[in-house]
């Protein structure tokens, strides 16, 4: 699955960025706007410009207007046709995601879920950071699940499907809340498809798992790293030596070559 950037010249190229946390200014990275700009420069330098970019949430740290402003302003320099967003839990604080949806979720349904087709691939953006229950994990909720079931029901089983959402749709480490309570229900609607790719953020590190027809992948943050599961007292921002930070931040380049079973996912760090 892993290839060097530039190895692929497929039928479709897109990029995932995640967890920009604009507004965060603590020791783990006092300048998250600078590292976001470096990530954007990295995308702009790709040999094949991405058809579009997916931002898998936590655009901001505290859902503040000025944080959304900085994010939007920074991403204007991204050389791509369009950016699709799903919210992270940091984007929906205090207002149930109203500002996020108004600015970054135009045309989306419900809490911000959406689907679109590109080059024969079906993309579905899911929201699993709303109405979280005490003691629970990420949650999609029955309304969104019903919508998803309908959304994919008319597709041919040979259609490659890409799901993207903030919190992992697999149990990465439930003790830290790194999973989604009703993700199995969502994936049950996709069993008949030959190729399903699930792209998530939230855990600020890359991780991959293949289970049957489904490839799960999490992206790096552009802001700060988090510890590996269980390797710290909590999943909070991880302070690393300054010269190591950019080795733990990055972008994810995804390429699709028609006729191949799965998408080629290439992670590259800022340094």
């Amino acid at each position: 699955m892993q290839h060097n950037v530039g190895d692929f010249k497929g039928d479709l190229s897109f990029v995932q960025i995640s967890d920009s946390h604009i507004g965060f200014n603590k020791a783990a990275n006092p300048d998250v706007t600078a590292t976001l700009r470096e990530a954007i420069a990295k995308v702009n330098a790709l040999p094949t410009p991405p058809s579009f970019v997916l931002h898998t949430g936590d655009l901001t740290h505290l859902s503040k207007t000025e944080e959304f402003d900085t994010l939007a302003e920074s991403l204007k320099s991204l050389k791509t046709e369009r950016i699709f967003y799903v919210p992270g839990e940091h984007d929906v604080l205090d207002d149930n995601g109203e500002m996020f949806r108004e600015r970054f979720g135009k045309g989306a349904m419900g809490d911000g879920w959406q689907s679109f087709d590109h080059n024969g691939i079906h993309f579905v953006g899911l929201v699993n950071v709303m109405n979280l229950k005490a003691g629970g994990l990420g949650s999609l909720g029955s309304e969104q699940l019903e919508w998803l079931e309908k959304d994919v029901s008319a597709l041919k089983s040979s259609t490659p499907v890409v799901l993207f959402a903030h919190i992992p749709l697999w149990a990465v480490y439930p003790q830290w809340g790194w999973g989604t309570d009703d993700s199995e229900q969502a994936l049950s609607y996709l069993k008949r498809f030959g190729s399903v790719t699930v792209l998530n953020g939230h855990i600020h590190q890359t991780m991959q798992k293949v289970e049957g027809n489904v490839t799960f992948h999490t992206a790096c943050s552009t802001a700060f790293p988090q510890p590996q599961p269980g390797q710290a007292d909590s999943p909070g921002p991880m302070k690393v030596p300054d010269d190591k930070l950019r080795q733990l931040l990055g972008i994810t380049d995804v390429n699709f070559v028609r006729g191949t079973h799965s998408l080629a996912i290439v992670d590259s760090t800022l340094a």
């Binding site: 505290l62 940091h90 205090d94 005490a134 007292d233 909070g236 921002p237």
Partner: protein
């Protein structure tokens, strides 16, 4: 006699001082004392103490010591803080006895409770 009365006075004053210190100690609030207050710290994605017993009338103040925002939300929405950034505080005065389970709505694995007697 005069001296004994003076000593008794001193002893009573000291006892009174101890008593007033006692009600301001965390977790030692007495029923009916409206000014009692107790602190809960949010550290490393957990509430401490996770289980707290207070008298009715006690004000509980939560302080977020983490680098990420947390909230303090009771399961049945009796109280609900805004997102607390680093060092932000939230207070709630418990007037009715009962068990109040609460959690962080941003990181719902974080759960704790306040028992009001």
């Amino acid at each position: 006699m005069k001296k004994a009365r003076w000593i008794l006075g001193v002893v009573l004053t000291v006892l009174a001082a101890f008593a007033s210190v006692a009600v301001t100690q965390p977790g030692a609030a007495k029923a009916g004392d409206q000014s009692a207050s107790v602190e809960v710290k949010i550290d490393n994605f957990s509430f401490g103490p996770a289980s707290l017993t207070v008298a009715a009338g006690t004000t509980v103040t939560w302080t977020n010591n983490d680098d990420v925002p947390h909230t303090v939300v009771s399961d049945d929405k009796v109280f609900k803080s805004k997102a607390l950034d680093t060092d932000d505080k939230f207070s709630y005065t418990f007037t009715k006895p009962g068990t109040y389970n609460y959690f962080c709505s941003v990181h719902p694995k974080m759960t704790a409770k306040v028992v009001v007697r």
